[in-house]
Amino acid sequence: MAEITSLHDAVASLVRDGDTVALEGFTHLIPFAAGHEIVRQGRRDLELVRMTPDLIYDQLIGMGCARRLVFSWGGNPGVGSLHRLRDAVENGWPAPLELEEHSHAGMANRYAAGAARLPFAVMRGYTGTDLAPRTNVATVTCPFTGEELTAVPAMRPDVGIVHAQRADRRGNVQLWGIVGIQKEVILAADRSLVTVEEVVDELEPRPGAIVVPNWAVTAVAEAPRGAHPSYAHSYYDRDNDFYRAWDAIARDRDAFRGWMEEHVLWSTAPTR
């Protein structure tokens, strides 16, 4: 049964040094507040998993939280590079970063297999690319038709973290808009944390919304604007200006450190 707790306590109890941690949200509902709390609590040696590392992992990598990154597209959407990710890969700053790289379809299938507690998923993909020999995929033969297909291993993170619009007081979670890979991550992970815009008395039905029942979630923490500069549909828009501004902040190591100190290290998590 999901425990409703503070963001500080949720991260302190669920995220441990060395864990495999997936903070997901496909452009929408990215759990920035939870990522910042991981930075503040000084977690180290993490294997970070995310289809699109986005600014959130640029920040965690630049702050030295990560040992390894599993991903499928590591850019600043519509803007350019993730400079902290590049600095880690190209120059080993602040620490070398090991990469495991997939296609989007491969990552989506890995999470789906994890949620279904299968050892792997089957798909048509990777064939003929230089990714196939570089990453963790294999071929399997269909027992019915003899066709050669691609197998991708299940993704089973120690901790899965996503943001959602709201939860009720019993910890049932509701989210809508671009639902991305949120449900799969919660179900694939051993422990899950959902940060929400607000905890409400009753979850009003919403067209296209999904509800994840409280018994499938480990912890829920209230974090208003916890997806900013990503967004929470019906609450606030994506802060595209910030995504553009990040390019200059992240390009320079000192500017990056300064920004993180001012906006993350010296601020505190919501205490509710």
Partner: protein
């Protein structure tokens, strides 16, 4: 009306899209071109973004593939595993629109690294949706600026494969994959054939009936500029 090489490239790419086609759209130039087509000759084109929005009709050009506008204007919003498995792998998408950092004569694309994989000179974002988009759509439109750095004899990394039916739109002209090799079939107005040869890192095949692209019309340019200002 005066126009830039990038505007010509975007307009030429938009013209490749046919009305009623279902198109998987990447962010940046592909999204700009697809939305230009929707405003011009292809009002019923179905735009699919990899975040799971089907039939998006954005009022402004999105910065990311998951801007809220894309979901609000969509006919349907589905999960990421569903968009890739049921819709893309399921063969329900006609056209894939891809960009890249490097392309070779077979239309294979690199969006992963410049230099060696283990010690890259430039770490690029990576393959994203491209390998399966290139494999599972019926036709691929690639937009890429043409230069010796991007049109290379050998890719530093093969992120996705060339498609049987592939057209490549550059700032210099239009190339189509023919018998497994890209062939220059049109030059944009004002571009000399020598320029295309110099910007290509292999001996470029040229069609016997090399055409000149029609310049952007006033309507195309006006709509493109309006889209960018919105």
């Amino acid at each position: 009306m005066e126009h830039s090489a990038d505007e010509m490239m975007t307009v030429a790419a938009a013209r490749e899209l046919r009305d009623g086609e279902v198109c998987f759209v990447g962010i940046g130039l592909p999204s700009t071109a697809a939305n230009l087509a929707r405003g011009m000759h292809a009002p019923d084109v179905v735009l699919i973004y990899e975040s799971g929005t089907i039939g998006s009709k954005p009022t402004r050009l999105p910065l990311s593939i998951g801007d809220g506008d894309l979901a609000e204007t969509a006919e349907s919003v589905v999960s990421v595993p569903e968009i890739f498995n049921y819709w893309l792998q399921g063969g329900r998408i006609d056209v894939g629109f891809l960009g890249a950092a490097q392309i070779d004569r077979a239309g294979n694309l690199n969006s992963t690294v410049i230099g060696s994989y283990d010690e890259p000179k430039v770490r690029l974002p990576g393959a994203g949706g491209a390998p399966e988009i290139a494999a599972h759509t019926r036709r691929v439109i690639t937009i890429i600026r043409q230069s010796p750095r991007s049109f290379v004899p050998e890719l530093d990394f093969k992120s996705s494969l060339g498609a049987e039916d592939q057209v490549v739109i550059t700032d210099l002209g239009v190339l189509r994959r023919n018998g497994g090799e890209l062939t220059l079939e049109a030059l944009h107005p004002g571009v000399e054939l020598d320029q295309a040869h110099e910007a290509t890192g292999w001996e470029l095949k040229v069609a016997d009936d090399l055409r000149t692209t029609d310049p952007p019309t006033e309507r195309e340019l006006a709509l493109l500029r309006e889209l960018k200002e919105r």
